[in-house]
């Protein structure tokens, strides 16, 4: 039973059909778009409501046979999720999937640890779930999945290599080929200084990460900016003549005013300078969000959900690599940035 008064009627109807389809849906990019943070169904909602609704959609789509395509979203929850419902839904996805990536058991075990202080009963048969309707906790859901992916007899189900598992049809990475279309947009840095996107990133290798200072998930924005500081150090050590730009761009520019950017970066030891900045757009952020197809959605006053997002750009403005949803390591990203710079040097 799905409450059409809460969900838009067309989405409620689709999900009702899916709930009764039980595995006969096949792959559908249209349905997978409901997992994107910027899907209209999430617009204007509270962050906690988005977590519930998205989890419900994930569990319903998994039941309808889309579990394999949902694996990137499930892995994201196991790795960085901080809410019981989405992690429980991810557990259902992983149980239903025909193929799972290597190392998923460790990710689930990590998610269970994060769940311990926030565990609650979960219920996926109705939306919104009423109190007292769930009989299984989020941890119990995750434990059940762990037993499936790591059986006691040592047998294993099919696993896919890390690189191949879970590329959803709806999410190519990088999402765009170039940042050229953004060159005229104005950005302001942590010192209040304004410049065009093209002036900041044009003609040099760049690493662009996205964040916002009000993010509540320590594994997302806070970690991202700390990692940027580490990348900066590694790149300058390995290639002192580097001209690469290392920047964090705020998802929440109306709130992330220069003094907030300054404070946030300083607290995370970001070595601010001409080649290392935190930035906010001075105009509507939609131009950047749409131009780069960022995975970010908004409530009434701030971001209500976003994915981890990182873009590596070459001297011609081409998006040569990206990371979406997964945690990333500073050394790996620094190496990629150095490689872009060295390629350009050797081509001269």
């Amino acid at each position: 039973m799905i409450d059409a008064a809460v969900l838009p009627r067309d989405v409620a109807a689709i999900l009702s059909d899916l709930a009764s389809a039980n595995g006969s849906c096949g792959e559908s990019p249209d349905l997978l778009r409901l997992m994107r943070e910027d899907a209209p169904i999430y617009r204007g909602k509270a962050a906690s409501e988005v977590e519930r609704l998205r989890a419900f959609i994930m569990a319903t789509l998994a039941q309808a046979g889309l579990a394999d395509a949902l694996m990137p979203y499930a892995i994201e929850e196991f790795e960085t999720g901080t809410s019981p419902y989405p992690i429980a839904a991810a557990a259902r996805v992983a149980r239903a999937a025909s193929m799972r990536p290597e190392g998923i058991a460790e990710l689930i075990a990590g998610a269970i640890e994060r769940l311990r202080p926030i565990n609650e009963f979960v219920h996926f048969d109705t939306y919104p779930a009423q109190p007292g309707t769930g009989s299984m906790t989020a941890i119990a859901e995750a434990m059940e999945t762990l037993a499936v992916v790591r059986p006691k007899d040592g047998s294993t189900r099919r696993t896919a290599p890390h690189c191949c598992a879970g590329h959803a049809v709806a999410e190519p990475v990088p999402a765009v080929r170039s940042i050229a279309g953004l060159s005229e947009l104005e950005l302001q840095n942590q010192d209040g200084k304004c410049a065009r996107f093209g002036e900041l990133f044009g003609g040099r290798a760049s690493l662009i990460a996205f964040f916002y200072t009000r993010c509540m998930n320590p594994d997302k924005c806070s970690r991202t900016i700390s990692q940027l500081a580490e990348v900066e150090r590694l790149v300058r050590e390995a290639l002192p003549q580097s001209t690469a730009m290392i920047a964090g761009v705020s998802y929440d520019p109306d709130y992330d005013l220069p003094e907030r950017l300054q404070r946030y970066g300083t607290e995370r030891r970001l070595p601010f300078g001409e080649q290392c900045q935190l930035l906010r757009s001075t105009g509507p952020f939609a131009a950047i969000r749409d131009g780069l197809q960022l995975g970010v959605g908004y409530g009434a006053s701030t971001v209500n959900r976003h994915r981890i997002e990182l873009l590596l750009v070459d001297q011609a403005g081409g998006a040569v690599d990206a990371n979406a949803r997964r945690l990333w390591e500073a050394q790996e990203v620094a190496n990629a940035l150095i490689a872009i710079e060295r390629n350009a040097l050797s081509a001269r």
Binding site: A47, S48, E120, P128, A300, T302
Partner: protein, 248 residues
Amino acid sequence: MNVKEYRRQVEARLAARASVSAAAPVATKPPEQTWKEAIAQLSDSSASAETRIHAIQLLQAGTFLGRQFDPFRADYIAALRAAILDADISLRHSALDVLVDFGDEFARQKLTESLRGIGAQLLPAAAALGLLARDDHGSASEVARDVFTNSTDVPTRAQAVRVLGSDPTASGFLARIMNDKDEFREVRRAGAVALRNLDPQLFRTKAAEILDDHTDFKDIKATVGGALERAGQALDRFRSARPSDDTK
């Protein structure tokens, strides 16, 4: 009785008590047993509100013990959610207070519905807004604007302004509240504090206007002047102005 005799008697009584305690130590329950009983009490709608609120306090103290309490969390949250719909307002308030701090979606939803007049009124509007104001990801600004528009109650209007203090699109609205001499002064002060946090630059501009206005109230000038001073601003614009006796 002299002092020495009195002292001897007191020491004798204390020694007797200590020997009784040592001989028959009070059996203390393991915390797990206490929490289990407290969850049962909290869930028991026939128990008094006082007993159930005490159960919440016991359980809330248990949450500080981390892993030891973890197995009880799901039942605790479920019991709290049931309690927010109880007939007793003090129990509802206690349960909502805890759930809102957990970032609980059910509590947020019920508070919002209550303010919109869709569901049962759980708390007075000011208290409900005060709880919603704790979550800047709660998307409560729309309901706060509606409440502000429709309420003449000073604490309710002030709480609505505090909710809007996390919404960057509300900075113009907050600036108008702060500078509106027809608005209640408590609400104006709430607007000033909210705007200072949300948009310090706009706050400085609007604060300067108030400080330059000889007809504005002394307490409002003191609020914005103090905020400017804390922000490291020169207060040379803070001039004494003609006080007004308007009680609003």
